[in-house]
């Protein structure tokens, strides 16, 4: 977990007090984002407002669209126009984006989508936090696809996660989802943020007529190479539809999924450990709940319980192997979440009975506190099944 550092080249505190949503906007600019399309929604609106303020000054594009369906569609169109594009929303808007998110996946379009989660379902709890979209971020669109979903538990973490999201979106040619929540998005912390770089210069690999455009091919937008065919229909490397059997598309999707698991940067950033080496009780958490869990670990240690934290910084692809390693050492696993039990499902699947898994859930818009998590960890230590 990245923490704020107090640097002082001239003895002055250069940190800025900003909220998570501002950190996302700053991270996007730092990563070369030059196109934003969005629609107002609490608690993500400040990202929209910040991008509306900053992008025109940099010659970038800011578009307030008529809804989230069109915001998602516009960033995909923009990527194919050569832009580095993003949108941000919350649960209701994220639900609306799902069909076009699937289009971004099957057309291998790099783009970044922020979902600042709020209580759901439906309009739910607009100003209160939730982690209810963990599964939607993975399985929300119809069909199978590779998924990259990144979380954060601090304001600086929002910035770093955003920079990473753009990098991975480009490298893997896919939509990347940043999964935050109402508290992280609106929380203010002092952070050191580097000055923004100059506006990005577009640069794409040269392609010859007839070169493949999908699968392993590099992403080259319209107008930067030979003519291209892009479709949401199952297609081969040339982009032309294969409607009788989806053999080539299936192969490309399987290949993308396996490439994510092999990416050294994903492997490095996958999880964050805190006091986990000798832990009997491993708390597996992510986002705002990981922040509370970290504090719970300290409280448990003070009370003589050898606890540790596994922070799922990259939620999807899921860190199966890491979970198996943790389960081999810590025989008790606690999964606190602000939902009725979502990421506990892949945790159980990965652990396969090697450790007892206990879930602590809350979906009323209230955060789980360090005390809640510590007390729950102590209560399950006796070993009774949850």
């Amino acid at each position: 977990m990245a923490t704020a550092t107090k640097t002082s080249t001239n003895g002055k505190d250069t940190r800025r007090l900003i909220m998570g949503n501002e950190a996302v906007a700053l991270g996007a600019i730092a990563a070369g984002c030059d196109f934003y399309a969005g629609y107002p929604i609490t608690p993500a609106t400040e990202i929209l407002e910040e991008m509306a303020r900053v992008l025109p000054r940099r010659g970038g594009v800011f578009l307030q669209m008529e809804d989230e369906l069109s915001a998602m569609a516009a960033i995909i169109g923009a990527a194919w126009g050569g832009a580095t594009a993003m949108t941000a929303t919350s649960g209701p808007g994220f639900s609306l984006m799902q069909e076009n998110l699937g289009y971004a996946a099957i057309t291998q379009t790099p783009c970044v989508i922020v979902d600042s989660q709020r209580g759901g379902p439906s309009t739910g709890l607009p100003t209160l936090p939730s982690q209810g979209d963990a599964m939607q971020a993975r399985f929300g669109t119809h069909g199978d696809r590779p998924a990259l979903v990144i979380t954060a538990s601090s304001v600086r973490g929002c910035y770093d996660a955003t920079v990473l999201a753009f990098k991975l979106a480009k490298r893997h040619r896919m939509p990347v989802v940043l999964l935050f929540d109402a508290v992280i998005s609106h929380m203010r912390e002092p952070v050191e943020i580097p000055p923004p770089p100059p506006p990005p210069v577009r640069n794409f690999p040269a392609l010859a007529e007839g070169d493949p455009r999908f699968g392993d091919a590099p992403f080259v937008p319209f107008g930067y190479g030979p003519i291209a065919v892009v479709t949401g229909l199952s297609h081969g490397g040339d982009g032309l539809a294969e409607t009788r059997r989806g053999v080539q598309t299936e192969a490309m999707i399987i290949d993308s999924i396996s490439k994510l698991d092999q990416d050294p940067e994903i492997r490095a950033e996958w999880t964050g450990d805190y006091r986990l080496d000798d832990a009997d009780v491993a708390i597996v958490a992510y986002g705002i709940t990981a922040r509370a869990a970290r504090e719970a670990v300290d409280q448990l240690r003070e009370r003589g319980v050898a606890a540790g934290l596994l922070d799922l910084r990259i939620l999807w692809p899921f860190a199966h192997q890491r979970l198996r390693e943790v389960a081999a050492k810590s025989k008790t696993i606690v999964v606190p979440e602000l939902n009725l039990g979502q990421m506990v499902m892949p945790v159980r699947a990965a652990v396969e009975g090697a450790a007892k898994v206990y879930q602590l859930n809350r979906a009323d818009g209230t955060l789980l506190t360090p005390e809640d998590i510590a007390a729950f960890a102590i209560s399950v230590q006796g070993g009774q099944d949850a």
Binding site: A85, G223, V230
Partner: protein, 277 residues
């Protein structure tokens, strides 16, 4: 690549033919009109993107030898808006059916028109959902039979031209597949126009609309088109009563401020250099 021997072969992706369209369908005439307009202007295929939605008309991008983007149902204009803003040097043409543009995509249609962004939207209006087998569309004439209005359509009919005009499109025209010479003419005007252009083309669906309404074969449907339209571009806004045939022609062609130019000025005022390349 195989040749059809047409003047516009260079703008057709002939290797993917035949099309998915039924014999007698009017969509091929519209594709020919698009190719002809491209050729008359001399567009570079690498600098053109044809964006389609979902449905019969949405397949157009596959048949035009330019960049092609076959998107999701109803959202073609939203994709095209992002694309055009990201690279305004591209000529972006959007092909949609009546259901695609006016039912599922109605919201994007009115907002693209409101922005007056420099896109050419071609609405293939056959009055029915063809790809899914002949269901009622918002453009189905009252009383017509479809598989979801077997007793005659009772919902009122959307008028593409009225909607486009009211929403702020700066070029609006309507023609029909009977008027073969006029299709490329209108598309060329729309392409040359700076702003949001709408060309509605009434096109025949003999398989569903024609059969369910007992109009006859494709040539009978073309005659039906002629009999139900009149080349007199007056609208509901300027007529006392909406009676008689559907009017065709150019309903608006003005120089309202175009969105990309307005956006560029706004950036410049803030010190930003938009699409400077």
């Amino acid at each position: 690549m195989p040749k059809l021997g047409l003047d516009i072969d260079q703008y057709l992706r002939t290797e993917v033919l035949p099309t998915v369209w039924c014999p007698g369908c009017g969509n091929g005439n519209i594709v020919e009109g698009i190719g002809t307009a491209f050729q008359r202007i001399g567009l570079d295929p690498e600098k053109v993107v044809v964006v389609g939605g979902i449905g019969c008309s949405g397949r157009t991008p596959f048949y035009v030898r330019t960049n092609a983007m076959h998107t999701t149902h109803g959202r073609a204009l939203a994709y095209a808006t992002g694309l055009k803003m990201a690279n305004p040097e591209l000529t972006v043409v959007v092909t949609m059916g009546d259901g695609d543009a006016l039912a599922i995509g109605g919201n994007h249609f009115i907002h693209a028109a409101r922005r007056n962004i420099d896109l050419t939207a071609i609405v293939y209006n056959n009055g029915i959902y063809g790809m899914t087998g002949g269901q009622e569309a918002p453009t189905t004439p009252v009383g017509s039979r479809t598989t979801t209005s077997l007793h005659g359509a009772v919902e009122r009919t959307f008028d593409t031209v009225e909607l486009a005009l009211a929403a702020g499109a700066s070029y609006v025209a309507r023609t029909t597949t009977f008027d073969m010479q006029e299709i490329p003419l209108r598309i060329e005007e729309a392409l040359r126009h700076k702003g949001f252009s709408v060309v509605e083309v009434l096109t025949q669906c003999p398989t569903y609309y024609g059969r369910l309404n007992r109009i006859g074969d494709p040539s009978d449907m073309l005659i039906w088109e002629r009999e139900h339209t009149a080349d007199e571009p007056v609208t509901l806004l300027s007529r006392e009563e909406m009676v008689g045939p559907l009017r065709t022609g150019v309903f608006r062609n003005n120089e309202d401020p175009e969105y990309i130019e307005v956006y560029r000025e706004m950036c410049a005022a803030q010190g930003g250099s938009y699409a400077a390349s």
